[in-house]
Amino acid sequence: MREAALPAARARSPRLAGGVLVAAGVVLVAALALLVVYPSVMLVVGSLVADGRLTLAHYWRTFQDRAAVATLGNSLVVSTAATVLGTALGTVLAWLVTRTDLPGRRHWDTLLLLPYMIPPFIGAIAWVYLLGPAGYLNQLWMALTGSPDPLVVIYGPSGIVFALTLYGYPIVYATMRGVLQQMNPALEEAARIAGATPARLLRDVTVPLMLPGVLAGALLLFMSSLANFGIPAVIGFPARYFVLPTRIYRTILNFDLPNNLQIAAALSMWLVAIGVVLLFLQRRVLRSSRFVVVTGQATAPSRVELGRWATPIAAALGAFVAIGAALPVGAMLLTAATRAYGLPPVLENLTLQHFETVAVGIPKVPRAVANSLALASGAATIIVVLALGIAYLIARLRVRGAHLLDVLVTIPYAVPGTVVALAMILAWIRPVLGVHLYNTIWIILLAYVARFLIFGVRTLMAGLSQVHDSLEEAARISGASGARAFREITLPIIRPSIAAGWFLVFVPAVTELTLSILLFSVGNETLGVVIYGLHEEGKFALAAAGAFLVTTMLVGIHLVARAVSLRELVT
């Protein structure tokens, strides 16, 4: 009997007491069913049902709608253009920072990630202040040249591509920086010693080795551009230029249209289909093991000497950082501090009135601040707890079928936020088992948790995978129970990952717009909703004051996060 029982026990390698494990598993599965499975099913069902019958009528309708098909084309064009530009930009910048002797590399690294701290819709709003019909840059142009026409008006597809590129390139930059840093420098040195000049080395070795990373980064950027709502909303609506997320948004709010939610669901399925294809492609790229780069002992990479190009390149980077971060933030501040938008920025036109109005004059603003802080910290906390369980099941216990959990967690992030919000609406528009969530703050919380869960799971899986099984096993053999070994060994070691996961959720959640704009109700506004609303109402100065304050707050949060994570690493 004992002999027979042994192999089975080994295969399972149970580390937590069975009962606790089962209970935790049930809770996690139930949570994911509630967060992901149920809304997904309701979205699909919604797109397929009319008057209580199964039908393809909604799909048929969207295919026949010229405007809708044009929107799909717009989405693809704008996203492709932004992806090409952003990938080129991000890759070149990452190469400059990691592989050349560019002066002040470490500072550039921080500066180049600055645009990522500005939420895209706020960045877009700031660029309206600069390149709107009465924007500062256009005013400057007209004053300097005497031209009666503005230089360029940002509204429309080019402006969308511009903003998507500017606020999206950090995705590729961060990916490529990692790829380049992990690439064994000996691979390049071997080519030099084999007789290749630096240019030839770049062509024969560096670029081919970077290619999988570039493709992976480009796919991420494409998906994020395709899903973006804030930028095409701010820059596209005034030119009546729609992409899929903004069209879906308009359709959801078009209460005069019969079956508007169902038609929106059918439109959403287009985005879902594109997302599925891209995810599949991404897996293929990442799995091609031919590109596994054997990393060796960390030697400092040999850097390409820029020589006389160093100064011009540094100057170009400086200008770029100014365009991406300094100029928009400056425009926000100026707009907020000017009595009325459009007045020239001279001393007698300056005022602090708008900051005061935003802070205390509009009751929904402080309410939104409180809501956003509560929602973001609540979502971050719930996510960290759920993610810890999911990551432990997948990475540690290797429970069969646990990978399904990983797929479930990926769905709400792979799918655009607009679609997640629609799925939540379809799931909760009627009370379920007597529970009312629609038009309450709880549906926003639910959506945030579903949407950002992947940040927590990925971070904690990475953290857990660095804690070798033997560390916990050493505690077990020393007499600690499974739960105790987890609490006293694993948990303290992965504390930095927990903190990082929390912040990774908190920061985007606190300025979230895409989900909130579709799910909020009076009294439950979020920061993003309020700022966007002020901008839409044409209260530019107030919106600018809010946007400036939010941006300042985000920079503060990043600084705190950095300080905390540093301290976590030290202790």
Binding site: A186, R192, A194, V293, V294
Partner: protein, 364 residues
């Protein structure tokens, strides 16, 4: 012809000297190893030879042609030095086949296609990889990747071959096999080699001469037997193999030998060590295999540990306050606790300093 000369080569990072005043001449066809513990500057020295690092001081000269000069007047880039190099991590390009990896230096040199193919094939045969030309690196074992790296470094018949800890990522058996293979290739191709390792066994087997480096400096250069039998100082002695250090006083000299009374032992048991006494207080360095069981030997001791090694035995013997290791053949069978008398066949004397007493005594 390839004679490589390093003249007072130094490298500083800020105020830290990674390599200090290294002077070394490697003759044509010679195999020279830079041996030392990690952080001693051996890899930095090799990378200066390769041209990846600019020296802070000194010159590197190949056949009378200056490759690197510290004044900045010359720094020939790596691709124009005509050298081959094997990296510790192999650095086999994952996106190219075995054939393409090995052919690369020839293609860069612009050789005609048929010659590239012929020479690549010949070199692959040299390292016994002829059957794997179409494979990608991820399909190869560590040992095979190592051979690809070696073939790539040899394919364009470089004047100098540089090897940076090439065997440290291989398992013990493969390491030994590759050792002999590298030696065999070097002799057949009569190529000038600079080899970097921290493994003294590897250095002994492979090298014509070994340069031992500590703290950025070369402390001794010599043939392996020279270094083993006549180490310049106790550090070199203990870094190359095992050494027993016994403190004592010089009590007399006779005909080019010194009589040393070991600490805590009677003067009657003094050791006679050939050579001049360097100081009144000395450290006697004795290799474990230079100690032999001899009923007439001057040292009386007791076996405290016996370790069976298969091809021999390793004994720990207490002699008064001293403890020494004794390497014996399989036929010398002693019991723990047994009394033995030992004679010293070969020994070297060093003046005892504070540094040698603290670092040199840990022979066990």
């Amino acid at each position: 012809m390839a004679e490589l000369v390093l003249e007072g080569v130094s490298k500083a990072y800020g105020t830290v000297w990674a390599v200090r005043d290294v002077t070394l001449a490697v003759a044509d066809g010679e195999f020279v190893t830079l041996l030392g513990p990690s952080g001693c500057g051996k890899t930095t020295t090799l990378r200066m030879v390769a041209g990846f690092i600019r020296p802070t001081a000194g010159r590197i000269v190949l056949d009378g042609r200056v490759l690197s000069a510290a004044d900045g007047s010359v720094l020939l880039p790596p691709e124009r030095r005509g050298m081959g190099m094997v990296f510790q991590s192999y650095a086999v390009w994952p996106h190219m086949t075995v054939f393409d990896n090995v052919a690369y230096p020839l293609r860069v040199a612009g050789l005609p296609r048929h010659e590239v193919a012929a020479r690549t094939r010949r070199t692959l045969e040299l390292v016994h990889l002829e059957g794997l030309a179409g494979q990608h690196p991820h399909q190869l074992s560590g040992g095979q990747q190592q051979r690809v790296a070696l073939a790539r470094a040899l394919v364009n018949e470089p004047a100098v071959l540089l090897l940076d800890e090439p065997l440290s990522n291989l398992d013990a058996k493969l390491r030994e096999e590759m050792r002999f293979e590298i030696q065999d290739l070097q002799r057949r191709l009569r190529i000038t080699v600079v080899y970097v390792t921290h493994d003294q066994g590897e250095a002994m087997v492979l090298s014509d001469r070994i340069a031992v480096m500590v703290g950025g400096r070369i402390v001794q250069v010599g043939a392996p037997d020279d270094l083993y039998e006549r180490p310049a100082d106790p550090f070199v002695a203990s870094f190359l193999g095992v050494a027993n250090f016994l403190g004592g006083d010089v009590v007399g000299t006779d005909g080019g030998a010194a009589w040393v009374r070991l600490d805590g032992l009677p003067e009657a048991d003094s050791l006679r060590v050939p050579g001049a006494a360097p100081a009144a207080r000395v450290l006697v360095c004795v290799r474990p295999e230079a100690l032999v069981c001899d009923p007439a030997g001057p040292l009386r001791g007791q076996v405290v540990r016996r370790t069976y090694l298969g091809n021999g035995l390793d004994y720990l013997v207490r002699i008064g306050p001293h403890t020494v290791r004794l390497a014996a053949g399989p036929d010398l069978d002693l019991r723990v606790g047994e009394e033995v008398r030992l004679a010293v066949r070969r020994a070297v004397l060093y003046p005892e300093t504070n540094a040698t007493t603290s670092s040199g005594r840990s022979a066990t």
